[in-house]
Assembly symmetry: C2
Homo-oligomer: 137 residues x 2
Amino acid sequence: MLTIGELARATGVKVPTIRYYEKLGLIAEPTRSEGNQRRYAGPARQRLSFIRHARDLGLSLDAIRELLHLSENPDMPCAEAHVIAGAHLAATRARIAQLQRLEAELARITSACDTGTIGDCHVIHALADHSLCDGEH
Amino acid sequence: MLTIGELARATGVKVPTIRYYEKLGLIAEPTRSEGNQRRYAGPARQRLSFIRHARDLGLSLDAIRELLHLSENPDMPCAEAHVIAGAHLAATRARIAQLQRLEAELARITSACDTGTIGDCHVIHALADHSLCDGEH
DNA sequence: CCTAAATGCTCTAGTCACTATAGGTTCAAG
DNA sequence: CTTGAACCTATAGTGACTAGAGCATTTAGG
């Protein structure tokens, strides 16, 4: 049986976050020691690792909740899991594309300025006047 | 003089967001009509456009607050503005790189699965077992 | 001039995924 | 038996808004 601190070290999820996940119902309430401290068995660790990994990949807790639910029913078709993962992949790609547009604009704005005074600073002027921009954002 | 709704349409910032910015002190409290409604003059519009544009580029309200402060002092050196913009550019690039790693992993996970049942779904297995992954994340 | 619709007002609470703090209790080592 | 690390609960804070309730004002049409 693991204490919450040991579980935290084993999974890379911080102690307050574990308690937070418990309150949200993502993980089951564990058994307790005589002195009311949490004691975890192996399955809790696997479930928490699953959550951690999915969070690392950027999935929302809502999406993770659904995936956990699916993983408890091995006989169900996995199409729904694909929908969730695919939607997240699409969202990630869209976010990358958007950030790349911002990156280009930021690079353009910062490069076109001699380090003088604010009065003729291109960074400030470009922010004040959208029409100095290249693309949309 | 613009009403708050007209200002919102002119700048693309929503009405509650304008009031929110006012509460944060990012924009000045405007004059009021006899019936206590906000009435804005031209400078408020320019300031709000500046904020909007900087937000679109992903800058934090704290960074924007500093940039606004700088823009009020045209004689100051603009080095500090460059530091802020440069830090944001670096953060944006780091975020893009991280998202690209996630994208690669997600694409790998989702592509390697025939649409069968959850029991042998690669999406679920890959989330449960980090060692099936390619890189770090 | 009157009315009705649109817009405005303040205030509070909710979102997401935690993180921090306060003030107390339990556990394991020495 | 004592000490100090780790644990407990509960509440509030983060960033940048967004939603809703319950009113007041403004403006255009009749």
